[in-house]
Amino acid sequence: MVWLLAFLGLALAALGLVAVRPLLGEAHVALIFLLVVLGSSAAGGRVLGITVALAAFVVFDFFFLPPFNTLLVRNPFDWLVLVVFLITSIVAAQLLYKARSERAAVERAEALREADKLKDALLASLSHDLRTPLTTIKALAHELQPLGDERALIIEEQADRLNRLVTDLLDVGRLDGGALHLDIQLNAVDDLLGAVGQQVSGKPDQDRLKISLDDPASLSFGRFDFVHSLRILGNLVDNAFKYSPPDSPIILTGGVEGKDVVFRVVDAGNGVPADERDAIFTAFYRRPGTGAGAHSTGLGLSIARGLAKAQGGTLVYRERDGGGTMFELRLPAGTP
């Protein structure tokens, strides 16, 4: 339909101009046709614009450059006019198209940002609405404890458990919904390892965790989100504390290998059988026979892998000589 209108417009313009042909210079014709070309590309896009430009070029030559009503051109300078007309029309159609698609891209990005903001606001108010009653329950249970009823302690523990579940579920929501906020900075490997140690301090068996650098003499850096990476290593170390024998060591190392900073969490647990090594990263997956009921949401590893991917990193399970469990987190290395 737009095409029909565009060519109708071109025909009408040509007819009108032919009627007053003796009075016209080439510039008059060129400008009127340019208007038609611009109108067509505005209404119908780049392909239509260029097609009309080519048609106008032929019509211009045929009707308005002497000798009239032939495609021949007598004056060599008229060729110049024709070619300049064609180039101008095509470039104009092209520019119009570009301006429009840029605006469309900006609008799309704007809409996406709006959607992200909405998701973020939704998750924030969900978080507020879920945690506010939990706070009251926990605090009231806490107030009751001095009265000697052990049920108060159980209520408080269960409120904590529910809170962990809420935290994990909201994180899954952020990862799935693309509402995760990333703050990628140049961070020292020292700093991240130290923060993991700090998180564990206060645990009765905190000495099980041994933290070291692959190369203690050099200071290395990576480009990653500090908080999310701390969460990943924190989840891995928590799992190691939970699923490896009491008193066995848990080893956390960090260093640079090629273009990556690499962190490894190694424990003396039973390891993961080959056929479960992908499944353990799926949400809500519970390994058969681990009995990991009370303190696990089944989301820790899936969140950890999601956070690694979001930062351009990887998290995998690796076979380890001599048994035990080894997780390897790779993130982009960086230099100051």
Partner: protein, 233 residues
Amino acid sequence: MANQTALIIDDEPRIRRVVSNALADDFARVLEASSGAEGLRIASVERPALIVLDLGLPDATGASVCAGLRASSNALILVLSARNADREKATLLDAGADDYVTKPFSTLELKARVRALQRRAKLPDTVGATTIQNGDLKMDTEARTLESNGQPVHLTPTEWELVRVLMSNAGKTMTHRQLFTAVWAGRQFGDAQQYLRVHVANVRRKIEANPLDPRYIITEPGVGYRFARPSEG
């Protein structure tokens, strides 16, 4: 201390009750406000020593209430948030809050935080002192030297300034922005904030016995750094 006033700004009556009970031991009067506007009004009239501010208020954002309170009050401001978001924490500390507690918290934790805030507020001001001692570290701000166990520590001028800012604010969490503004006055925050982390890593290698288990410069993930007070381990 027991003759002081505390103010709770929270739209949830039950949270107000819980917080109010927790503060009753340490404060003579505990006032309550259920909106940001009411809180600002009461704060300007009653001059409380402590303000506990919940972020989920229906009438205003936490940061704007916080900045409003700070504009007219020297009260200690403790923020309660349901979000475990460090970005938010940094924003509020930048807006003048003194500390931040994540819901759900226990009354014990809340009390401990309030007491820590009050202790810190009473500490002698180290600004203007010419020597600052902290554990085995001794800084002479006039000679611009730092000694660890009597041995001189060699710092670049930027590193020295960073340690000076951290040491003179010992015990207080300094956000990345606050540290950057204090140390690199006049430069743009965004592009150059990576320098801060790099310098901290370098300084730790010079002053910490084990940089992987820092005792002086403590990381507050996503927020900033805090120089431990001498009594902290």
